[in-house]
C-alpha cells in the first residue's frame, strides 16, 4: 500500500488531544456578563417610590383630602418628608434603608406655561443612579395669600427623584 498522504496515527492522536484540551479550556473559561442586575434594582426603586406616592395620595376617608394633596396645599414639606421617608425607607425589621429624594411639582400657569416648583430639596444629588416617579394629584383648599396659592384648584404633577445613597 502506498503510504504517501496518510495521517500517522500517533500524530493524529496527539493532535486530537490538543484540540480537545483547547476546546475544554475555551468553553470552561467563557462567562457571559449580564447587565440586568442594575436594571432590577432600578425597577424596584421605581416601584417602591411610586407605591409610596399612591399610598400618600389615597385619602383616609371618602371625600376627604389626601395627605399628599394636603401637604402640598399647605406647603408642609417637613410633614411630607416624614411620611414619605418612612414609606420608602422603613423595613419590617425596624431598620431603615438609605433612600434619598428630591420632590419637584409641575403645574400649568394661567398663560398655559408649565412651571416647576422645588417642593422638597434637602439632599444634594451627585449623579447617583436615580429614578423618577410621578403622580398626578388634585390640589385644593389653599388659603389666599399662601406661598402655594398658584397651585389652587389645579391638577399638578408630583415628581420624585429617588436614589439610594
Amino acid at each position: 500500500m502506498n503510504d504517501s498522504g496518510q495521517l500517522y496515527t500517533i500524530e493524529g492522536v496527539a493532535a486530537a488531544i490538543m484540540m480537545v484540551i483547547t476546546a475544554y479550556m475555551v468553553i470552561s473559561s467563557a462567562s457571559i456578563f449580564t447587565p440586568q442586575e442594575k436594571h432590577v434594582a432600578q425597577m424596584q426603586l421605581e416601584q417602591l417610590g411610586h407605591d409610596a406616592l399612591v399610598v400618600m395620595d389615597t385619602p383616609g376617608e371618602n371625600g376627604v383630602q389626601s395627605n399628599l394633596s394636603k401637604f402640598i396645599a399647605s406647603d408642609e414639606e417637613e410633614d411630607f418628608n416624614q411620611t414619605y421617608y418612612k414609606l420608602v425607607n422603613q423595613r419590617t425589621d425596624g431598620t431603615f434603608d438609605t433612600l434619598k429624594y428630591n420632590v419637584t411639582i409641575y403645574y400649568q400657569t394661567d398663560t398655559g406655561d408649565i412651571e416647576p416648583i422645588d417642593f422638597f430639596k434637602k439632599w444634594d444629588y451627585h449623579r447617583e443612579n436615580a429614578v423618577k416617579v410621578t403622580q398626578w394629584s388634585y390640589i385644593t383648599d389653599i388659603q389666599v395669600g399662601e406661598s402655594t396659592e398658584v397651585l389652587n384648584d389645579k391638577v399638578v404633577l408630583v415628581e420624585v427623584l429617588l436614589w439610594r445613597d
Binding site: V20, A23, S28, T34, V55, T92
Partner: protein, 338 residues
C-alpha cells in the same frame, strides 16, 4: 485462485480512518456534554430570585386572589381550609383588582395563619411551605421564602417562614401598602334622652352594591370584613338587655363563629349583668356572618337593635353606611426568596 472469488480491496475503510473517526466522535461527545455547562454562566441566580420576589410582591399587593367573586360573595379568605383547601387557587391580599397596594386585613389574618406541623391539613390554617409554594410562589423549583408585613406607625408585625440563612444571597422586594381595617361605626351614647335602644339600619342592597362614588378603599364591606360598632359615653349604670334584628327572626345569632361578639365574647355567652358605666361596648359582627344564603330572604333594609335598661339615645335610628368607616393604615410588605 480464481479472481472472481477474491474480495476486492477497493472502497474499504482503512484503519487510520477508523481511528480518526473514533477520536472525532469522542471529542464531539465530550464537547456536546459540556454545552449544557456553557449555559450555566447565563443563568444568574440572584436575578432569578429577584424576579420571583418581585412577582410574589405584585401578587400579594395587587391581586385579590382566587376565588374572588363579589357578586356571589365568594372569597378565598372566607373558605374553611379544613374542607375547602383545594378551592383556594391563588393567594392575594388586595381588596380588589382595581385597587393595587390596598390590602385587606381579613385576608392578611388568614394568609398569615400558618403552621409547618404535619397536622396542618386538619386545621383551618395554611401548610408551610407546601400551600404557599402551590398557591403563591409557583414554579417547579422549590423556592424558600420569607414574607413580612408591618404597620409603619404601630409596628404590628406579621411574618411567614424563617429569615434566609446568613451569607445566602436572596431575591428581595419591598412594597409600601395601605391596610384596610375592619369598618368601625363609633356611636356616642346620649344618657339623659328618651330612647332606651340604639337602632342601626343597614341597607343590604347598598352594602352588596356600594354606590360608585365611594372608592373601594372606603367601602364598608360587611361580608369579608368584621364590622365593629363601638358605643361609648355611658355615664351612669347601664346594662345591655338584648341585641336583636328587625324584622324579628330575619337573622339568628348563633353561638358558634361567625357570630356577633359583644366585648369579645359571643353574644349568647355575654353576661348581661356587666355594668357599662365608663366602659366601651364593642359589638363585632364577624366576617362571614352575612352570606348569600342568609341574605336571600331578607328585606332590603334590616335593623340591629340594642336594648338597654336606661335611656341611651334620642330614639332616632342611625344609618350604618353614614357612620361606619374603614381605617386605612400604611404598612410595609417585604418578600425574600432564595
Amino acid at each position: 485462485m480464481n479472481d472472481k472469488w477474491r474480495l476486492s480491496e477497493d472502497a474499504q475503510l482503512s484503519i487510520d480512518f477508523i481511528i480518526g473517526f473514533t477520536i472525532f466522535m469522542i471529542a464531539f461527545i465530550f464537547v456536546a456534554t459540556m454545552m449544557s455547562g456553557l449555559l450555566v454562566n447565563l443563568q444568574s441566580q440572584t436575578i432569578d430570585y429577584d424576579a420571583v420576589a418581585y412577582r410574589t410582591g405584585v401578587m400579594l399587593a395587587e391581586d385579590p386572589g382566587n376565588p374572588y367573586d363579589p357578586d356571589n360573595i365568594v372569597y378565598w379568605n372566607l373558605l374553611d381550609l379544613t374542607t375547602h383547601r383545594d378551592e383556594v387557587e391563588r393567594l392575594g391580599l388586595s381588596i380588589g383588582r382595581n385597587s393595587p397596594a390596598i390590602l385587606q386585613q381579613a385576608k392578611i389574618e388568614k394568609f398569615f395563619s400558618w403552621s409547618s406541623s404535619l397536622s396542618c391539613e386538619a386545621n383551618d390554617e395554611f401548610c408551610f411551605p407546601a400551600d404557599y409554594r402551590q398557591k403563591l410562589i409557583f414554579g417547579d423549583y422549590p423556592y424558600n421564602f420569607h414574607i413580612t408585613l408591618e404597620e409603619i406607625e404601630s409596628g404590628r408585625p406579621w411574618s411567614l417562614g424563617a429569615e434566609p440563612p446568613n451569607n445566602r444571597p436572596y431575591g428581595y422586594t419591598r412594597r409600601a401598602v395601605l391596610i384596610k381595617k375592619p369598618s368601625v361605626a363609633p356611636i356616642d351614647a346620649i344618657p339623659d334622652d328618651t330612647g332606651v335602644g340604639i337602632n342601626i339600619t343597614m341597607n343590604i342592597y347598598d352594602l352588596v352594591y356600594p354606590p360608585t362614588d365611594i372608592k373601594p378603599a372606603h367601602q364598608v364591606d360587611i361580608f369579608q370584613e368584621d364590622l365593629i360598632i363601638n358605643v361609648t359615653g355611658f355615664t351612669k349604670d347601664t346594662h345591655l338587655q338584648s341585641i336583636s334584628w328587625f324584622p324579628s327572626g330575619s337573622l339568628d345569632i348563633p353561638t358558634e363563629s361567625p357570630t356577633i361578639l359583644v366585648n369579645e365574647v359571643p353574644y349568647q355567652e355575654y353576661e348581661k349583668t356587666m355594668n357599662l358605666n365608663n366602659k366601651n361596648l364593642e359589638i363585632r359582627i364577624e366576617q362571614g356572618y352575612f352570606n348569600r344564603e342568609k341574605l336571600a330572604g331578607l328585606p332590603a333594609i334590616i335593623e340591629l337593635r340594642l336594648m338597654f335598661d336606661v335611656t341611651v339615645s334620642d330614639g332616632n335610628p342611625l344609618v350604618l353606611e353614614n357612620i361606619a368607616n374603614p381605617p386605612l393604615v400604611p404598612a410595609v410588605l417585604e418578600v425574600k426568596v432564595w
